[in-house]
């Protein structure tokens, strides 16, 4: 990892559809070098995936999301890892984090309806050994996700010429 790799990652994080030639121009390399660097970053698991940030609310269909907070009894030799990895395998679970504070794990869970989520929590999550307590927080509206604003902003306009 050097400075150029850092710049390449920032460009891709902002827009992963940026062409290799354009990245090459911006970071002052040639396109082949950029392709090689990206391949290495992918291989090393630094670039995990290329994805789109989607505001599902605008599709009309939409989905329901909730933050799930869990108190977990840590296991000898594994801590929270085994429970966390088990939870992470569910397709409904979009993110799993170990957190400090009152709760131990924080999950982002999605479903088509609220019943999907409550059912999932009761039947699948709460039943896992080691989970002592769950708290479900329904997400009502998303304003910002992955650094992207979900609301329209009208910023000031500039004059066509200034010196």
């Amino acid at each position: 990892m050097d400075e150029k790799d850092g710049l390449i990652l920032k460009i891709l994080e902002d827009n992963c559809k940026t062409s290799e030639q354009e990245i090459a121009d911006m970071v002052d390399l040639d396109a082949t070098e950029v392709a090689e660097r990206i391949a290495v970053l992918e291989k090393r698991g630094i670039i995990r995936k290329y994805t789109a940030v989607i505001d599902w609310d605008r599709t009309g269909g939409g989905q329901v999301a909730a933050i799930l907070e869990l108190k977990v009894t840590p296991e000898r030799g594994f801590g929270f890892d085994r429970v966390a990895e088990r939870l992470a395998r569910f397709r409904q679970v979009r993110s799993v984090r170990l957190i400090s504070g009152v709760y131990d794990l924080e999950l982002l869970v999605i479903g088509t309806t609220i019943h999907d989520i409550t059912g999932f929590v009761a039947e699948h999550v709460a039943a896992i050994e080691g989970i002592k307590e769950t708290g479900t927080i329904l997400i009502m509206k998303t304003y910002k996700e992955n650094g992207q604003m979900y609301f329209d902003r009208k910023e000031g306009e500039r004059l066509p010429y200034s010196f």
Binding site: E22, V27, D28, P160, Y161, S162, F163
Partner: protein, 386 residues
């Protein structure tokens, strides 16, 4: 009725860009590379602080030289970032933008009849500013072959018996040229030997892409004969706040403060509080913007050279300054044709002085998408000339 306008105002030639404004006003799909300001909005943390200051009722005049907290912030910032020492108590004035600093700097030192050596190409306000004080601007050419730096030879050749002031701006608007510490050292002898005062407008100094940003005032031999001008507009995307500053040894600073006291009173108060925040917590946002400018520069300048407009890689500011020599057109004709045919606005280099002729000032402080589209349109325009 008599013509009430003063001779000095009448002597200032009209802006060469006026007609471009009129043409551009008729278009709605214009891509403007004609704008000399960041396309970013002021970082939110800075805006929020200004809102708080207004809510807290900080709405009165401040001291003529600016609020103490800001002067001290500027002192610390200049020291740590540029190795320049100015004392917040008697060597720093917060002004209404760097333009406000430029105005009081010129008026502090220029007597009617004095010659002011202006590094050319130059920001459009320099010559009129000098003329309003009764001085004569004398252009010192900074050439493409020197990467638009001010050289001791050019300075020597332009000297006149009435020369008193050198006025320069690096990183340069419009050329993107940059002076390193060594470059300043090279001109320092001429300035000292001929007992000149230097007004150094370093408003773009944060926007230096390769190597460390340099300040003329960091040289001990220049420090006491330099008026340093800078501000928050470019580095922190704060053009509309009108907050700049002037730094000078006490006697010159005191002279400038006298003018500020009777003309501007103090810089906008909410903006001063915003600037305090910019210095405290704005560095990350600033550096992110600078990194983005650098990538846009690379993208755009490489693109220009690829489509046949020769352009040096500018090391500072956010302007590319390609030559139109290969097209056989003058800079003005090229800029007007490009605007009319392809709706891309650029500024002809000759607007910035004789050494700018044959070049275009293209501000790359626009989105990458716009830069891409601009390049496509410029390419179409160039092909249409053949």
């Amino acid at each position: 009725m008599r013509d009430f306008r003063s001779e000095r105002v009448k002597n200032i030639p009209p802006s060469g860009i006026r007609k471009f404004f009129d043409i551009a006003a008729e278009m709605d799909d214009i891509i403007s590379l004609g704008v000399g300001e960041p396309d970013f909005t002021t970082p939110w943390i800075v805006r929020e602080r200004a809102i708080q200051s207004i809510e807290a009722g900080k709405t009165s005049y401040t001291s003529n030289k600016g609020i103490q907290e800001l002067c001290e912030g500027i002192e610390d910032y200049l020291k740590s970032r540029f190795g320049v020492s100015y004392n917040a108590s008697d060597e720093i004035i917060v002004t209404a933008g760097a333009s406000g600093a430029l105005d009081i700097a010129i008026r502090s030192v220029v007597n009617p009849g004095d010659d002011v050596l202006v590094a050319d190409p130059a920001y459009v306000a320099y010559a009129p500013g000098v003329m309003l004080s009764g001085g004569n601007p004398v252009y010192v050419p900074c050439c493409s072959k020197d990467r638009f730096k001010l050289t001791p030879d050019a300075l020597m050749e332009s000297l006149t018996p009435k020369s008193k002031v050198v006025l320069c701006n690096f990183p340069n608007n419009p050329s993107g040229g940059v002076m390193t510490k060594e470059d300043y050292k090279a001109i320092a002898d001429v300035i000292v030997d001929h007992d000149l005062v230097l007004i150094s407008d370093e408003i773009y100094s944060e926007l230096t892409y390769e190597g460390e940003p340099a300040s003329a005032a960091s040289l001990p031999e220049l420090r006491d004969r330099t008026i340093l001008i800078s501000g928050f507009s470019k580095a922190y995307a704060m053009t509309g706040w009108r907050i700049g500053y002037l730094c000078a040894p006490p006697s010159l600073c005191d002279a400038a403060l006298k003018i500020q006291q009777y003309v501007m009173l103090s810089a906008p108060t909410a903006g001063q509080h915003a600037a305090v925040e910019a210095l405290k917590n704005g560095a990350e946002a600033r550096d992110e913007m600078i990194s983005e400018y650098m990538m846009r520069r690379n993208l755009f300048v490489k693109g220009l050279n690829r489509i046949g407009l020769e352009c040096h890689m500018p090391n500072g500011a956010f302007y590319a300054f390609p030559s139109v020599a290969s097209t056989g057109l003058t800079d003005e004709d090229f800029a007007e044709g490009l605007l009319r045919d392809q709706h891309v606005a650029v500024v002809p280099g000759s607007v910035f002085g004789p050494s700018g002729a044959g070049h275009l000032r293209c501000a790359y402080a626009v989105s990458r998408d716009d830069l891409r589209t601009a390049l496509e349109r410029i390419e179409v325009f160039i092909s249409s000339l053949k």
